[in-house]
């Protein structure tokens, strides 16, 4: 493992956890963008393996600190993996973002439903509701992540 990459991963985990109480009010619901933003950043900057590790460790710490629940795991890890793979294959940050949205919003919520209430699995309507609930937050975080990547590139802090 490269020292530089481990150090970046450490700080990205800390950002994901420290920002996790932040939300953007969206109508009556709230969007917690932190984990999704960090997923996009880590997938693009460090690749799929680190992205999954970062999401997992952030999940553990958020649970330890009481800033999240068990559902932080499926929500974060699948999105991180897909985003990382998508970026590795395409070198395109928008596709990485798409990977995060599909991974967390659709696959992540499917797995959550399966964990939470297997009974609901067969109900298409119910699933759609859950997915929308998940996606609001995913989409918000992903957009912020992509904007951040642009700014970091323009500020010459990160070069692709």
């Amino acid at each position: 493992m490269e020292t530089k990459e481990v150090a970046r991963a450490v700080i990205l985990v800390a950002i994901a956890v420290a920002l996790s109480p932040f939300f953007i009010p969206v109508g009556i619901s709230k969007c917690f963008p932190a984990q999704h933003m960090v997923n996009v950043l880590s997938a693009v900057m460090l690749g799929p393996a680190y992205a999954v590790a970062i999401a997992t460790i952030a999940g553990i710490i958020r649970n330890i600190l009481g800033l999240g629940t068990l559902l932080a795991f499926p929500g974060g890890m699948i999105g991180a993996l897909l985003a990382g793979l998508a970026y590795r294959a395409s070198k395109n940050i928008y596709l990485a973002g798409l990977g995060e949205v599909i991974g967390t919003g659709i696959l992540g919520s499917l797995v959550s439903v399966w964990i939470v209430a297997p009974l609901l699995m067969g109900k298409a309507m119910a699933l759609a509701t859950l997915m929308i609930a998940f996606s609001v937050s995913t989409l918000g975080g992903t957009i912020i992540g992509i904007i951040a990547l642009h700014l970091l590139r323009k500020g010459k802090i990160w070069e692709p």
Partner: protein, 221 residues
């Protein structure tokens, strides 16, 4: 409790979560809930749980509502209680372990050192990043950029995010320097802490596993 080997703790915790996961019958769920609610004050975690409830209820509520419309009230209640139990037992589990212990345990069961290092070290940097966030909010509001959590301020949030990310990457680079300068990359590290799983702990794990299997069999049948 604290004298147990972290691996034992991890194993017991995972089995407890599995048990709640297996439980399906309404009666079992009820017994479980009562046990969990009784355990909370004993472990002095009641207050913390109340604090964490705000992360629970959106999901629990959502599941309840969806199940209510898809099935009926009793199914919805069972599902909601089950989810609540699952989240509570995992809450207790995570509260009972420290990141260092988890890191040690992971390392002992063969997870690479780098990952265990990431776990313990990021915990150290969470408060620091929190402090940085506060400093940035202070500095920006002092020159007229409002960063309080309001909808009309959403556009200003880049003024929080950019300094945070820029500084974080500098911090990460400096951290990497510090790690290198203390031999992070060197092969053949030793570990100061030595854990050994005692015979008693093996017994405990085996006992718990037997219980779990019996419970699973009983719940299914």
């Amino acid at each position: 409790m604290t004298r147990l080997d972290p691996r034992t703790k991890l194993g017991l915790g995972l089995m407890a979560i599995a048990a709640v996961f297996i439980a399906k019958a309404p009666k079992t769920l009820l017994v479980e809930s009562i046990m969990l609610l009784a355990a909370l004050p004993l472990l002095r975690m009641g207050k913390d749980l109340l604090h964490s409830l705000r992360y629970y209820w959106p999901m629990v509520g959502l599941v309840f509502i969806i199940a209510f419309f898809s099935f009926d009230f009793s199914v919805a209640l069972v599902l909601a209680v089950r989810l609540f139990n699952l989240l509570t037992v995992s809450f207790i589990f995570f509260r009972a372990v420290s990141p260092e212990e988890t890191g040690d345990a992971l390392q002992k069961i063969g997870v690479p050192y780098g990952l265990a290092f990431m776990l313990t070290t990021s915990m150290r940097y969470v408060p620091l990043i929190g402090q940085k966030i506060r400093h940035i909010i202070d500095a920006q509001s002092s020159r007229g950029i409002d960063l309080r959590l309001r909808l009309q301020n959403v556009r200003n949030f880049m003024a929080l995010l950019m300094p945070l990310l820029a500084q974080s990457f500098v911090l990460a680079d400096e951290l990497a320097l510090a790690m290198e300068s203390r031999g992070f990359g060197r092969k053949g590290r030793s570990s100061r802490k030595h854990y050994r799983i005692t015979l008693l702990e093996y017994g405990l794990l085996l006992f718990a596993l037997t219980l779990l299997v019996i419970f699973a069999w009983w719940e299914r049948g």
